[in-house]
Subunit: 391 residues, 4 copies
């Protein structure tokens, strides 16, 4: 059980690019990174495209004014000149900038933590993967829902054969906050439906990548063979970007799957869930009640496993923060993945290959797989919602 004691020798010097006052995700990054005070120190930032607003904001976060920069370029350049310059940078800017900032940061010798979807293309992702490998640097991707301890429990139970052979995978991430066109007017939202900034998709990239990564986390051996994606723009001005998408999948082992991603599921307040159906039992988890895992064995009473309980696997308990009965939420998940990024970065700095080889966290490959997922979905959708081999 985590209690705030250091997991790495000393806190990392950390900066944010983006994530300013109007950002929807900036606070989640800071909550995650700073949760334990022993993993990161926020020492610099280029928080906002409006430089003055960003500087005022950074100062309000306790960052020295002189390390609140006007641009990421300035940040990278000037921090490189400091003895105590930043070691790792978080990129929480709109999608269209992820690639160039990541490349620049890696070239500046910094570890990178980047928002999803990582980039626009798998070609970009492969290039960055090679660059990071060459530089010996970590690239983490903030699949912020993937740090819930019960997902580790799900992974272990599936690996143990507790549900038998996997037959069906049911994925969903839907909400209704964009049911009306007026939602697109808000600064934090409008770029998400602009292909130049958002990339080739809206909801596929913005939300389904979270659930897709969770599916990979809990079933690492399941590979998609082919898929079919049908996407819609119920608000026509969003076209060609979709605000609703339905995907069918065929896995290599004969299992099948579905994904529903939507920003127009009016009134839905429970967002994201995963159900994995096996030949003996099913496991189901939802981020609306992340401390519960349903384990449904055919022909037996349904079970509800609760976070923090001694009957869970050690890997789930290792990520526990509050303990049984004490409701955990999204912030604990973010804190867990940020802590893993720090462990990976520190291991990288210290040449600790053993840790790097075994640590499970959303790394550059997870980011690449998310982009690949989007790419295949868009290819299918643009081909008339037909089956495509997963490339």
């Amino acid at each position: 059980m985590l209690n705030g004691e250091r997991s790495i020798p000393r806190p990392l010097r950390w900066a944010m690019i983006g994530g300013g006052r109007l950002s929807q995700v900036g606070y989640k990054h800071r909550s995650g990174a700073l949760r334990d005070n022993t993993a990161y120190r926020l020492v610099a930032g280029a928080f906002d495209i409006d430089a003055a607003r960003g500087r005022e904001f950074g100062v309000n976060l306790g960052v020295p004014a002189e390390r609140c920069y006007d641009s990421y370029q300035q940040l990278l350049a000037q921090e490189a000149n400091r003895e105590d310059g930043v070691e790792v940078v978080t990129i929480a800017t709109p999608n269209g900038t992820h690639y160039e900032i990541t490349r620049a940061a890696l070239n500046a010798g910094l570890h990178v933590i980047c928002e999803k979807p990582l980039f626009f293309t798998t070609a970009e992702a492969r290039e960055i993967k090679a660059l990071a490998a060459e530089k010996g640097l970590i690239v983490g991707v903030t699949y912020g829902f993937s740090g819930h301890p019960l997902l580790m429990q799900m992974r272990v139970m599936i690996a143990n054969g507790d549900i038998g052979e996997i037959r069906m995978v049911e994925l969903q991430y839907t909400h209704g906050f964009n049911a009306n066109e007026s939602a697109d007017k808000f600064e934090a939202q409008k770029w998400r439906v602009d292909p130049k900034i958002a990339g080739p998709s809206f909801v596929l990239g913005d939300i389904s990548t979270h659930t897709f990564y969770i599916s990979q986390l809990v079933m690492p051996d399941m590979k998609i063979a082919s898929l079919l994606c049908d996407r819609q723009s119920f608000i026509p001005s969003r076209a060609p970007l979709e605000d609703n998408a339905m995907v069918l999948m065929h896995y290599e082992n004969g299992a099948v799957g579905r994904m529903w991603a939507s920003a127009v599921n009016a009134g839905a307040m429970d967002s994201q869930s995963i159900r994995v159906v096996g030949s003996l039992a099913s496991l189901q988890w939802s981020d609306a009640a992340p401390g519960e895992l349903r384990y449904e064995i055919q022909g037996r009473p349904n079970q509800i496993l609760h976070h923090g309980m001694p009957y869970l696997d050690d890997s789930a308990l290792a990520e526990e923060r509050l303990g049984a009965l004490h409701t955990e939420g999204l912030a604990e998940s973010w804190a867990n993945i940020y802590l893993k990024f720090a462990i990976a970065i520190s291991a990288s700095q210290r040449g600790d290959r053993q840790t790097l080889a075994t640590l499970i966290y959303p790394d550059i490959d997870a980011g690449l797989e998310g982009v690949r997922w989007i790419e295949n979905c868009v290819r299918s959708a643009d081909n008339g919602a037909t089956w495509v081999n997963y490339q």
Copy 2:
């Protein structure tokens, strides 16, 4: 609110074909028909393929031994000779016999209530529809979940525009009772996976037609333009019949939809649900809690409507039997549809065209539409899970 008072001038003389001691559905038919004592009298039957067992069973139900027949042919022949012969017959036999028995019963001048799926082909259904029209007889189909009062509420609210324009229809009927091959050994189950008796599908016909009819009941104006069905036989011995199917739909108005039907959703105990997403709000109902209807307006608190409450539409309250707070279940739904069959039959007998023109119940057209749904799904699936125009 229904309280058992007669809805028709006198009870109908009713017989069952099938539905004997080992039947899974026979009791539901009797519970539905006899609930109020004023709609039907069970006076004859050919309850079982094992004639002796069927006779003993019928006698145990209170049917005179001489009217417990060895076969449906005998029943039709001998009842025709009685002054007090049966007027309406329920067919609760395996799928493969529905067509011939229905045709014979209609030709014998009897009204028919038949299990779903009605027949194997739309050609058969159209032929029977014409025959029933020619004879002036009613054919009802036991979509037994469709009599829940809150479905009428859902229909009215959608018609009123309470959810705006329909965008997405999410349908599901899944369970896990056939997750293991051993389930196929039971007499009440084994025919369901034999194409000669079950017809061209297993779960599509056996369960998805229920939910499909509910979707038509609550959204009578929504027409499917095209669909795609992907079906699997996770227990190989069931092939070509599917134990799992996933369907995507395009409606003529631009809405999209999904159906998941499965008998291998291990451990699932909540079976059937429908969610209709509109531009303003969504409505969601599940047969696991049929007395609740979720009404989720985007940007407003979610609402839960309860059966029997005065704020409901008159059409929902008209079908109420137990009253608010008193939990209703599947038996009330069956009683409601059986009562409507009786009202239709009585109206037919009395030439009451007004009633026949306005009564909403699962009639021959509903049965035909179910067969059409299966036919299109199977055509798509057998064509490699490709899009097909809805024919």
Copy 3:
């Protein structure tokens, strides 16, 4: 599993006193008694204090007009003269008439099924118990929620020690339908707050006796040693009758308990629940989802048992009607207890002492215990909400 086959040699000739068109419970009685067509035939009635309305109603139920009587006295007198006169009568009239009608019916040689609360005093109940014994007649009490199969499961599990030693019993039956004084104006409600007709209590008698009986059903060995009742009349015109009551209990074995009964729990739609806490585990059941039983073992995943599943005890499965996945409601519970009344009455008629000795159903003792419960609660409340020894 029940499927409508006869449980007794022939249906009983049955009449109703009360339960007419405006009655809230009349339909539940008829649904329960007539469910299977093999237990009862409704052949006579004195349905309404308005004799003409009652006769019209009875005819609409299919009762011959000449057996729709103006009063219970007339019914008892004239049916006694018939060869095919009634054998058992249901009393569904306001509380204040239960005693005199029961006594008259027993003296007329009829078995009795009576609404709760049975009578006003335990003295009356003891007198009637003696009279019934003398006459060799059955008196059943319609604790209509007590026929849910999972209550038998709960009884067996507690008896088996599955929850360890009982420590705490949490009982609740609350709703909000009388939150406003205007509710008292309805004919079916206004007598309930008139002490002359309702007796010494409103919610204690009207609703808490249901849950109290369930507690006795599932824990037959638990005896109350003392209790304390605090009751309120939030609508002052109801005084001295309470619309809210809170009871604390001490059991003889050292366990403690609580009851909350209320008709002013505004907005509550889930009514009735029981939780029994043992030293190892708890069992919880609610009539809002009567097909689920929560089994919570300390330190283990919580379990949900579902009705109709093979892992249940035979005593629970014996009362199953619809089967797993098919939602059961209050009507099945009523049908189950009415069937048990019929079995008891038939056993009594045939001198089958073995059946009478082992059948578990709400009999005269259960009725007496309900009256005793109210009597003790009212005594405590009227003594200033102090502890009283259970007498």
Copy 4:
């Protein structure tokens, strides 16, 4: 909406007494205080009764070794000599030490944040209240569940009359983690059942004070007139301290209430809830799903309000951290109350009387009221579970 920007001019220099490696609550304090990096800096501590273990722990939290003290006395003495000495100290030690440490800290000129139950007696609480007032220092009490935003919503709705006149208050905080005596062997638990260290109660002080404070927070105008408490020690070795308690309350306005506090509610995983029943509607909240508030208007569809939604009151949205759809948990609640402590302390330092007069947080009065609640409950229980006037 909170996003980590500073709410006070500069972070406070903060120390912890207790809350070391084996503590159940230490991490919650640190998570709460350090969440935003702009309210507190953890600069010193006397974390553990085992000084060496405490020092190692403190260093692991990033505290300089020389400011990890052997005892609270040493901490107070040595920090007083530093220019940059601590300004505020959290007391997370067993109950029996709260009074002396609080007094010493106040006398050393430090603000205090203390665990509940604050002290053993109201006399102590009144003395400390006077001392804090004399010194001009803040005493905050960590009712850690009271910072959930929807509790502010509940407070506003009740004040607005949205539920009408309050009639019934239903409070519960139960779990089963002490169902077995073996639980008492753990170091973090065993002192809780030792009257010398825990004080006059176990579950009343340990858990019911949380829910009691929440009731005062949402209904500040409701005053208890009298109460009755019945307490049990189901594990006899815990006597005279109770592991289960049931309380009845009479409020001055005629409303009534109940509390159930238990550590032996075997298998219960949902812990704490409050339901306030008014003449028109009820409001219900549970810490198991703290982002939902049920609003049940009699005669209308039940409503579920969700955290972070624009329809909420500004006071609820002001405490929002993650936004709608993003599940909040206990950590956000702690962060909110720690932030309020910081705002109060800073206001106190700056002489900002306006802020101090209007800020709603668990202050010394809230702590005193908690002790008063326990005192009255214990007095009633020890008097044979009789009614006592609330003193």
